[in-house]
């Protein structure tokens, strides 16, 4: 039996994906399906004074045009940041109110997608417009919870001022990060089909059970009457987590026209009808003594939030876990502007905060006169600095040492601007990566047959990460089967509860439920075969039988393969529900998850702090004449517990680093300030790295054992790679040129003028 865990396994769906036979939600075409399209607001704030739908209705092929006045039985749900499953607390088309540019105002149903879109173009809206601001004003900010610290939004340890006063060197730096949009390759889409009061929704989703519970709740239906199907997801990154207006509008429109309706959101509309990464400001005040040990650490994060929701992605909770320091103060602030509700985008707490933290650490290292890697070593700690609990495992410096070796960090010129190559200035920079290990309750149904097959079923999702494959691997390893013999079914709300594909939880939490299912199968089989008169395990105390990757072992060296033992079970198969309930999961948290919400525990429990760590190094080149910034080399080393699949893990980490490069150099949702509107809502003008930008990206995966996080020893890795990349690149730019760039992204215009 070949090894199936911690090895390279090609995705079980790879062939289907590259041949176009994997079917995504929008590929499903129910009989009689009509097409939907949205008309969206041209103004940001104000109200609709009148809507003329006559031209749209007259367009050949158009079946119906709905507005806030005419769409019957349109239901909404509470917003996520107000404790519900919705992507936002404000629901367009409930009335005349307009609260952000690009908000849906009318919904057209037609016989073809082209007719529906043309109909949407022909909807003519009269507005009454009020002033609007798309950018936050950090001067007008507030602490969530009115400063009462109920949610841990302000935290103080020691005496910050004393730490700053006593420091031999300090930095006080402010960084900014822009609005960004996820831009998954697969467009947002929803197809709704009503049969009486039974509803089926096909929709790419990171959380099918949330979707099902939310929709059922909104329509007052039992959950069993609502099916939600999301077999594959073509990238989500946080954008397909909540219930959005486009989904609820499609469901209502389908009900109103009495036929299935499919809506595929256009790329420009994808910038306004769902979530995004809010812009932020990060202020760091750090102090260090002459030996380079931190004496003071203050981080104030101010993030953009809409008028009607408090979007809190508390980055300070992560930064304060990084380095030892006796005097720490963190503060989480929000500032309002006129947009839709932002949300999670890959490493929602970490990407922007680690750009600030790791840039400030670099600046302080320089002031103290230490090598940036040694500066991190001087401040490494095995105890969480504010929670005072040990890390369940922490391989930060191992990561730095591994990446430094392969990268050739020792060849870094000591002086700023000391490295050149022809017309290029060259710089090296490094930064820390981390991601919390979040924990959610999960179930998984596992069935093993004596014929040598197994089935795994759970309401998890493959958002492009390889989840089908790793769930099969976990079962195959435990049950002693080839990966191909395990059939994994996911992406349906009716399946056993599994976590949202968010917070990098699926592999760890859902994988652990699959693992538990396999152990339960072994126990049941052991009970049967131990009670039999004959056989290798006859008469053995079943509670002392262990499962060793496909083999049942008795206490005295007896053994029998699980597959063989299963043949002695009368049914010839065993089916169980595996569960994962980490001790840190309280009954309330478990309940929340099972009710369709998110009951997350970690990364800090009363006993331990759980984080994955890594270190990234970048070589940057800046051209003397064109001022172009290029990254010929990007190396990272990471430790995140057990690697389930070295191939898909590698892809996740590499993809994260490439995205990190995009955050550093390309990605920004541009804005028009006077009219409070996003400007580059398309992927011609919203830049992301192209192949020519991505040169050498090297990923090293370190071995690390962690028995606390979960039975598999797995930490999440989906978001780890993006964290720190922007700082590593910014630090390298500083090394090459002496310019400290504090606003993402870094562009030619910054290099010329800075």
């Amino acid at each position: 039996m070949a090894q199936t865990i911690n090895t390279e396994v090609t995705r079980t769906d790879a062939r289907r994906k590259v041949t176009g036979t994997a079917s995504y939600a929008a590929d499903m075409i129910p009989a009689g399906m009509l097409h939907g399209a949205m008309a969206c607001s041209a103004i940001a704030v104000g109200s609709v004074t009148s809507i003329d739908t006559s031209a749209a209705e007259a367009e050949p092929g158009v079946v119906a045009v709905y507005t806030h006045e005419t769409l019957p039985d349109y239901k909404t749900v509470k917003g996520f940041y107000a404790g519900g499953p919705g992507s936002s607390s404000f629901w367009p088309m409930e009335g005349t109110e307009i609260r952000y540019a690009g908000q849906p105002l009318a919904y057209v149903v037609a016989e073809s997608a082209a007719a529906a879109r043309r109909g949407a173009d022909l909807v003519s809206v009269e507005y009454s417009e009020s002033g609007a601001a798309i950018h936050m004003d950090p001067e007008e900010s507030f602490v969530v919870g009115a400063g009462e610290d109920s949610e841990g939004m302000i935290l103080t340890k020691g005496d910050l001022q004393a730490g700053l006063d006593g420091a031999s060197q300090t930095v006080d730096m402010t960084f900014t990060t822009p609005f960004q949009h996820h831009n998954p390759m697969e467009m947002f889409a929803a197809t709704a089909e009503w049969r009486g009061d039974r509803l089926t929704v096909w929709m790419p989703s990171q959380s099918v059970r949330t979707l099902r519970a939310g929709i059922a709740g909104a329509y007052g239906l039992p959950e069993t009457s609502v099916r939600v199907i999301s077999p594959f997801v073509g990238g989500a990154f946080g954008s397909k987590a909540g219930i959005t207006p486009y989904a609820m509008l499609t469901i209502a429109a389908s009900k109103a026209v009495g036929a299935p309706v499919r809506l595929i959101v256009t790329r420009p509309q994808m910038y306004t009808v769902a979530t995004f990464r809010p812009e932020t400001q990060q202020r760091f005040r750090l102090g260090a003594d002459a030996e380079g040990r931190l004496t003071a650490f203050e981080h104030v994060e101010t993030a953009q939030t809409p008028r009607f929701d408090d979007v809190v992605n508390p980055g300070t909770h992560i930064t304060r876990a990084m380095y030892a320091c006796p005097n720490i103060r963190t503060e989480q602030r929000l500032s309002r502007s006129d947009t839709n509700t932002g949300g999670f985008m890959r490493a929602p707490n970490e990407m922007q905060t680690f750009f600030g933290l790791e840039s400030a650490m670099d600046a302080l290292a320089l002031k103290v006169g230490m090598d940036p890697v040694e500066f991190r070593r001087a401040n490494d700690t095995m105890t969480h600095p504010t929670a005072d609990v040990p890390f369940s495992s922490r391989s930060l410096m191992e990561s730095y040492d591994a990446v430094a070796q392969g990268f050739g960090w020792s060849e870094r010129g000591r002086e700023i601007g000391s490295m050149t190559d022809g017309d290029w200035l060259v710089g090296y920079g490094c930064a820390t990566a981390t991601y919390p290990t979040n924990i959610l309750a999960s179930n998984a149904r596992v069935r093993m047959q004596a014929t040598g097959s197994a089935y795994v079923e759970l309401a998890a999702h493959d958002v492009g990460t390889g989840t089908y494959t790793i769930m099969a691997q976990v079962a195959a390893a435990r049950l002693g089967l080839p990966v191909e013999a395990v059939d994994v079914v996911m992406g349906e709300g009716d399946l056993p509860v599994a976590p949202i594909s968010g917070g990098s939880t699926t592999a760890a939490s859902a994988g652990s439920a699959v693992h538990d299912g396999c152990m339960k199968i072994a126990r049941q089989v052991a009970e049967v075969v131990s009670s039999m008169a004959e056989g290798p395990l006859a008469g053995v105390d079943p509670s002392r039988v262990t499962l060793d990757d496909g083999t049942l072992r008795g206490p005295d060296g007896q053994s029998q393969s699980l597959a063989e033992a299963l043949q002695m079970v009368p049914e010839g198969e065993v089916e169980v529900v595996g569960t994962f309930r980490h001790p840190a999961l309280t009954p309330e948290l478990i309940h929340a998850t099972f009710a369709g919400g998110y009951g997350t525990a970690g990364p800090v429990t009363p006993e331990m702090a759980m984080f994955a760590f890594g270190a990234e190094m970048a070589e940057v080149r800046i051209h003397r004449y064109t001022h172009e910034i290029r990254v010929p080399r990007l190396h990272g080393a990471f430790a995140a517990g057990t690697w389930l699949n070295r191939k898909t893990s590698h892809s996740q980490l590499m993809g994260g680093m490439v995205w990190g490069m995009g955050s550093a150099l390309h990605e920004v949702t541009e804005t028009d300030t006077p009219r409070a509107r996003f400007l580059n809502a398309n992927i011609a003008e919203y830049l992301i790295p192209v192949n020519a930008d991505v040169r050498e990206v090297r990923v090293e995966m370190l071995e690390e054992r962690d028995d606390y996080v979960n039975p598999l020893g797995v930490k999440g890795i989906g978001e780890l790679g993006i964290v720190g990349t922007a700082a590593a690149i910014g630090n390298a730019i500083h090394h090459a040129t002496g310019k400290r760039l504090t606003a993402l992204p870094f562009r030619i215009s910054d290099m010329v003028s800075a």
């Binding site: 041209a42 051209h623 004449y625 580059n680 192209v690 192949n691 930008d693 562009r747 030619i748």
Partner: protein, 332 residues
């Protein structure tokens, strides 16, 4: 997208006639047209597809002239060894534009007539845009985002930038376009094809309704052989120029006999930096004189807040391109 009629004539005369009708528009590779139709910026009633006029696909590089048919594909011309040898800047200006997929379908005629990337022009939700809706105002000038806008040739009605690369190699090397319209054929100096925005930025060229660009001709001059196209852009490929320069040099020993400088990413129309060229003629080409030429090239620039960076950048790009062209000559 609005419904339209579609025809694909197979003779230039018929195409011209069809395209001259009210509401008719020419489409070649469609990479500009289809984009703008999808987002409702252009709503022609009739599309006249000229891609069937196969006579316009050819091109030849002679000893004293080069001639390119308007339907030659960007990628075909960029890859052609005779073009690369005779006029590297021209090949590079095509190579460094758009993406391979676009270059494989986009035509030279369509390329020179591509439309601005001004974000306000491209989003009909903005009520103000004189280019899209004459008389409506200019959102860019009304407090808008101006990083992508022209620092030469703008007016109080419009500061849109001409975004193309290829045109810079044409404008600095005395290209001409030949056309056929309902009134017959004519030849237009390339530098006069595009018109400054003035009071009516919706008019971008001197072409009459139905007038088809049939070809582009260039005299072969010595500065072509030592030419280069330097393009500063925020990503390594598939990005418009923040600033660019098409430069060609003819040297007489250590002194410059002839020099050509076309500037991209900075002007309302394809832009030749004549004063900078003049500053170099008869001079030695050194880092210093190259930088001085760059400075002169941007002396008269009129930037907006967002586009001010283009002055320093453009000057450096000109200097870098001149030195690059020189180093190529030296066989370095």
């Amino acid at each position: 997208m609005k419904n339209f009629t579609y025809s694909r004539p197979d003779a230039v005369g018929a195409a011209t006639e069809a395209a001259a009708a009210d509401g008719a528009t020419i489409i070649a590779g469609g990479t500009t047209m289809v984009d703008l139709m999808k987002i409702g910026v252009l709503e022609p009633d009739a599309l006249v597809d000229i891609s069937g006029l196969s006579d316009l696909e050819g091109f030849e590089v002679g000893s004293d002239r080069m001639r390119f048919g308007a339907l030659a594909k960007m990628s075909t011309v960029a890859d052609d060894q005779a073009v690369i040898d005779a006029f590297p800047a021209l090949s590079e200006s095509l190579w460094k534009a758009a993406s391979p997929q676009l270059r494989n379908v986009a035509t030279l005629g369509g390329n020179i007539l591509q439309r601005t990337r001004c974000p306000y022009f491209r989003d009909t939700a903005f009520a103000q845009c004189n280019k899209r809706a004459p008389g409506s105002g200019c959102a860019a000038l009304d407090g808008g985002h101006t990083n992508l806008h022209a620092i030469f040739g703008g007016s109080s009605s419009c500061v849109a930038m001409y975004p193309g690369d290829f045109a810079q190699a044409l404008v600095a090397f005395d290209a001409e376009v030949s056309t056929r319209g309902p009134g017959g054929t004519r030849t237009i100096p390339f530098a006069e094809l595009h018109v400054a925005p003035g009071d009516d930025p919706s008019v971008e060229t001197v072409l009459e309704p139905g007038e088809i660009v049939t070809g582009i001709t260039l005299p072969v001059i010595p500065a072509m052989a030592n030419s280069t196209y330097l393009k500063a852009r925020d990503r390594e490929s598939y990005a418009f120029a923040s600033a660019s320069a098409a430069v060609g040099l003819e040297m007489d020993g250590d002194t410059v006999r002839d020099v050509r400088i076309g500037l991209g990413g900075v002007a309302a129309t394809p832009h030749r930096a004549r004063a900078a060229e003049e500053s170099l003629r008869g001079q030695a080409l050194t880092e210093e004189t190259a930088r001085e030429a760059g400075r002169i090239a941007f002396e008269d620039a009129e930037p907006l807040d967002g586009s001010a960076y283009k002055i320093a950048l453009g000057a450096d790009v000109v200097a870098g391109a001149l030195l690059q062209a020189k180093s190529r000559m030296g066989g370095e």
